[in-house]
């Protein structure tokens, strides 16, 4: 099982080997191996409860692996399952707060709001936002520190068609500047045009990521794995 696609150069940003994670005595992740390089786009598919969100949290360093090891190079940005924002603050205030915590110049906030299409809503409180707007702000927050590795958990959920396009554009742009991107999604169509490597997580075990394939091949592999598990 090759996990390195031929056209994927660049330094390794994330090296995951044999990682496992339990909740109580229930094994959520089992023997996960994965390598992400600069410029890589990896998509993780899987049914609900397969452990995708947990895996992303482990990759981000929010959860400790119970077995195996992880090595990270460079900075990291996460768009998680939850927004990771403050409802009572405005969009701009949220970004400025997280900038200040990371020692980053607060000026990036406006540029990022623009990049995710929230420029008009900068002074509105997040509590008033729609789900799609919240998602976009979460993406902006993840990009504050110009991360080398971007982890996205269902980033397209709640976005309208325009939002999906914007996000896909952001991912492409990041990839082109050398960021490694991991996307958890259950709608492969959103990312198909990026020709990502695709891994399928079923019952805590990761199959792949196999080198870039077309959507049909991915679908077939998915059906195989998920229906035959």
């Amino acid at each position: 099982m090759s996990d390195q696609s031929p056209g994927s150069p660049g330094p390794t940003l994330l090296d995951v080997e044999g990682v496992s994670r339990r909740f109580g005595y229930h094994t959520v992740l089992h023997d996960v191996t994965l390598r992400i390089s600069s410029g890589d786009v990896v998509v993780l598919l899987g049914p609900n409860g397969a452990g995708k969100s947990t895996l992303l949290r482990v990759l981000a360093g929010l959860l400790r692996p119970h077995g195996g090891r992880i090595r990270r190079e460079g900075t990291l940005g996460l768009v998680g399952h939850r927004p990771m924002l403050y409802g009572a603050l405005t969009a701009r205030e949220n970004l400025q707060f997280f900038s200040r915590l990371q020692g980053i110049n607060g000026g990036r906030a406006d540029a990022l709001l623009d990049a995710v299409g929230l420029v008009g809503a900068g002074d509105s409180r997040v509590r008033t936002f729609s789900q799609g707007m919240i998602k976009r702000l979460a993406i902006a927050r993840a990009l504050l520190n110009d991360p080398d590795l971007l982890l996205l958990d269902e980033p397209f959920s709640g976005l309208d068609d325009h939002g999906v396009d914007v996000l896909r554009g952001v991912i492409e742009q990041r990839r082109d500047t050398g960021t490694g991107v991991v996307v958890v999604t259950h709608v492969f169509g959103h990312v198909a045009s990026l020709h990502p490597r695709t891994g399928i997580l079923v019952g805590g075990a990761l199959h792949g990521p196999d080198p870039g394939e077309n959507a049909d091949a991915v679908r077939a592999r998915y059906r195989d794995l998920v229906l035959h598990e």
């Binding site: 981000a60 990291l76 403050y86 409802g87 603050l89 919240i134 927050r141």
Partner: protein, 226 residues
């Protein structure tokens, strides 16, 4: 070191800004404090219990419960939309996070006390003038005592079920030494005696502060789920 302080201040400032937006919690706590002070005054047998005898206990019971209200909401904003993860990812040290939260909780309780003490002086006809700085010192020291442990417990309890019930249950034993000390010292001061008359209690309070602020800062990291 300055990283620690600046991160803590950023976090505290954020909390204060959020609280200032609605002011609901701090006003509710203050109203609650006024009610408790009133009830304790009015419900006593005025012929048997002079107001001044009851005053120290009334003050500290009131402030303890008001602090509990403040502490219950300490990590709610982080919990609401999962912001805690973002804070952890930003590389802020657990100590900085604790100190920031500790600071904003102190500000909250301090605000309630700041309005509460004049009202207390008014209701209980307390001859306060000369001893005000000493009373403020005792108040600050006692508040530091229960807010330090309270912040730590609040961080844990917010991640479990029955959070609002568990916080008082876990915190109350830790209120005993500081609140008892505070009551005795307040009684000393209201009785017109100098603070040194309660030196033993003052030392106890100081030792408690040092021990539990340090311990809470050190243990805070263990409350972060990993």
């Amino acid at each position: 070191m300055s990283d620690l302080v600046s991160a803590a201040l950023t976090i505290a400032a954020k909390d204060i800004r959020i609280e200032w937006r609605t002011r609901t919690a701090v006003i509710s706590a203050l109203v609650f404090a006024i009610l408790v002070l009133s009830i304790l005054y009015v419900a006593r047998d005025a012929t048997a219990v002079p107001a001044l005898a009851l005053a120290p206990s009334a003050l500290w019971v009131t402030f303890s419960f008001a602090a509990m209200i403040g502490l219950n909401r300490a990590f709610l904003t982080e919990n609401e939309l999962g912001a805690m993860d973002a804070i952890r990812l930003s590389g802020v040290s657990p100590s900085a996070l604790f100190l920031g939260k500790f600071g904003s909780n102190l500000a909250f309780v301090g605000a309630v006390e700041g309005f509460g003490i004049p009202i207390f002086v008014l209701f209980y006809d307390v001859p306060i003038g000369v001893h005000l700085p000493a009373l403020l010192l005792v108040t600050v020291m006692t508040t530091v005592a229960f807010v330090s442990v309270g912040t730590l417990l609040s961080a844990m309890v917010v991640q479990t079920r029955f959070a609002e019930v568990m916080l008082p249950v876990l915190l109350l034993p830790f209120l005993i030494p500081p609140v008892v000390a505070a009551v005795h010292l307040t009684a000393v001061l209201l009785g017109g005696r100098p603070l040194s008359a309660g030196l033993g209690w003052l030392k106890l309070l100081a030792a408690f502060d040092v021990a539990f602020v340090t311990l809470s800062t050190l243990l805070f990291e263990a409350t972060l789920s990993e």
